[in-house]
């Protein structure tokens, strides 16, 4: 499809949505949001992008196969589950780091964030792999 306005808007939309999804991921622990929701929002951006540009372009942005992304997501989850064990806690225990950084002020970082990032990557990978497969079956590569 050759419609320059539509193409520019889709690209802008994808960037905006991607930023939004990362925001949702980061605020997730104590406020509404989280990895799962973030991933779904991210997938919406990609679906819009795919409808206009075709699934080949999604795959080009993703760089890796969606399967690999799901694997990476599971890897993060695994890390968050096992890390506390090596420090003598029960598996999946939340470990927290609190620090005062210049410019950022006081921040809290913990293994739940790693876990959520894993969910984010894994779920986004899963949804995109479904979408890409459907698009390939329908031959949606304009």
């Amino acid at each position: 499809m050759n419609n320059i306005i539509l193409e520019k808007i889709a690209l802008l939309f994808l960037r905006g949505i991607a930023l939004m999804s990362v925001f949702l991921l980061l605020r997730g622990h104590n406020s509404p949001g989280g990895g799962f929701i973030g991933a779904i929002v991210l997938a919406i951006g990609f679906i819009f992008y795919g409808i206009i540009f075709g699934s080949d372009r999604i795959e080009r942005i993703l760089y890796f196969n969606t399967r690999i992304w799901m694997g990476i997501g599971l890897g993060f989850v695994l890390l968050a589950a096992v890390w506390p064990v090596f420090l003598g806690h029960a598996p999946l225990t939340g470990l927290w780091y609190t620090g005062n950084w210049p410019l950022l002020g006081e921040i809290h970082l913990g293994t739940p964030l790693i876990f959520d990032t894993g969910i984010f990557i894994g779920v986004a990978g899963l949804i995109l792999s479904v979408i890409i497969t459907i698009m390939e079956v329908l031959k949606w590569n304009t």
Binding site: R67, I68, M70, G71, I72, L74, G75, V77, L78, A81, V82, P84, V85, H89, A90, P91, L92, T93, G94
Partner: protein, 496 residues
């Protein structure tokens, strides 16, 4: 961590299988990880003998608030048998399952099942149990339909819908129970029910929904119809896995559920369980005797065999629970092995129709003997494991005063023998019918790993018969723990 590793091992495999592309490496990793799982489950046995009940609180949150993983002797025995069967089926599948299926994630989804099964055996929380059921079911839905043959899709639709309904019942029951008691931790629920003993009728809607959910999963009498409609459609390695593990998880959950909750209201539930068990036993075996497909006969026998476990649960004495656990283990081993032999026959002849098969004993006496062992163990001939299983069930039934049901079990045993003799005669003994002899493809590919798996299972069945006494002793210790829920509560919630 001791228990958590049993979830971690399949999970790590799932991760690696996504990251690695080469089918050959995935196959080797599958064997490696199933071996690891087996070793870990073996290591749990001495630990549970020493510590009696192993409890791990996830994330360090204490019991009624967080998620606990609990393994008593019964769970550990189930985990061990699961790991053993899973390892052998993985080895078997390397030669039995075709390359296209293996490339499309056969091992990936079997490990999904392993993770779900391991999780359900350790779940100390009702909702967690539901989640593990789902993990297991999602993987099994895909395994049933993987390959996309026409027959397979037909079977998978029935499998999918009935199991979704059972999940619906289960989760609806969980919701009601949570609304009434405000907790989902099994130990906490059991404690609360003991306090609310006078008003248990309030909980009946929830308990009945959950009970029906488990009965559908365990293929008990009025709810069994999905099982024979779907188990004969996927590749034999998959149906062996299902037959060995999936329905048994339903039965395990039922036993856990009964010993922790339902026995408070035994006057009502004991009758229900006895009737359902007895009817499953009879109807399963009669339906099986009318079938002419190798795997369909075995599928109907799953229902009948599950009935034995459930009537033993209904007797509800120490001896009866010992028998139930022993029988469950025997059944997992024998049934899986019977399916493995069916897989070999299918590979050699491309069909499992009894009418056109024949002469298989002449073709390979070893496989014939392996079928003989597992089939006659199912039928209950000494000195195989089935004999002791049935003996224990009957003895405990008569001791508990349910002579009628025990006699019924004996009678069902006769029919089981009839079905097994039928398969034996039709597939292995009779002369191959002349008219169908030419059409079959001759399979030249090696099957030594398939033979290895089946031999190992056959040895296990014989060994379980020969060393029945120490195994029954272990089962008795497990039964004592099951009959004493206050111990379970104390270990999970801490001394009060």
């Amino acid at each position: 961590m001791i228990l958590f590793a049993l979830l971690l091992i399949p999970f790590t495999y799932l991760m690696l299988a996504l990251l690695i592309k080469k089918a050959g490496i995935k196959k080797r990793l599958a064997i490696l990880f199933s071996t690891l799982n087996l070793l870990w489950a073996m290591a749990l046995v001495p630990i549970v003998q020493y510590r009696e009940i192993i409890v791990v609180q996830m994330g360090g949150w204490s019991a009624p608030f967080g998620i606990s993983l609990v393994a008593d002797r019964f769970s550990v025995l189930m985990l061990l048998v699961t790991a053993f069967i899973f390892f052998l089926i993985t080895v078997y599948a390397t030669q039995s399952v075709d390359k296209a299926r293996r490339k499309n994630g056969h091992f990936f989804f079997t490990f999904g099942i392993l993770m779900g099964v391991n999780g359900s055996f350790m779940a100390g929380d009702l909702f967690n149990l539901y989640v593990w059921f789902e993990v297991m079911l999602m993987s099994s839905f895909i395994l049933v339909s993987l390959g996309g043959e026409r027959k397979q899709l037909e079977g998978s639709i029935k499998y999918l819908i009935l199991n979704l309904i059972s999940s619906l019942f289960f989760v609806a029951g969980i919701g009601l129970l949570y609304g009434k008691l405000g907790s989902l931790n099994l130990a906490d629920l059991s404690q609360k029910m003991e306090l609310a003993r006078a008003n248990l009728a309030v909980l009946n809607p929830a308990l009945i929904l959950i009970f029906v959910g488990f009965s559908i999963k365990g293929a008990l009498f009025p709810f069994f119809f999905w099982l024979p409609a779907s188990y004969h459609t996927p590749p034999p390695a998959v149906s062996a896995l299902f037959a060995g593990l999936l329905t048994k998880v339903g039965i395990y959950s039922l036993i856990r559920f009964y010993t922790l909750f339902l026995y408070y209201d035994a006057g009502f539930w004991q009758q229900v369980v006895l009737w359902m068990g007895a009817l499953s036993m009879v109807i399963g075996v009669i339906a099986a005797s009318s079938q002419y497909d190798f795997r369909k006969i075995l599928s109907f026998h799953i229902i009948s065999q599950v009935g034995y476990v459930v009537i033993a649960l209904g007797f509800f004495t120490e001896a009866a629970l010992t028998a139930a656990i022993f029988f469950l283990v025997h059944n997992m081993l024998s049934k899986t092995n019977a399916f493995l032999v069916a897989g070999w026959v299918h590979r050699e002849k491309g069909t499992l129709n009894l009418k056109v098969l024949g002469d298989m004993f002449k073709k390979s006496p070893v496989w014939g003997i392996l079928f003989f062992i597992s089939a006659f163990s199912l039928a209950g001939l000494p000195p195989l494991s089935g004999f002791f299983g049935k003996y224990l069930v009957l003895q405990s039934g008569i001791e508990a005063g349910y002579t009628g049901v025990a006699m019924l079990a004996l009678f069902v045993g006769l029919f089981t023998l009839f079905s097994m003799v039928k398969i034996w005669l039709e597939v292995f003994w009779k002369k191959q019918p002349e008219d169908s002899a030419m059409e079959w493809p001759v399979n030249q590919k090696p099957a030594h790993w398939m033979l290895f798996s089946s031999l190992a299972l056959g040895t296990a069945i014989v060994a379980m018969g020969l060393w029945a006494a120490p195994i029954a002793e272990y089962c008795q210790a497990a039964a004592q723990d099951l009959l004493n829920p206050s111990k379970y509560i104390e270990y999970v919630l801490g001394p009060s």
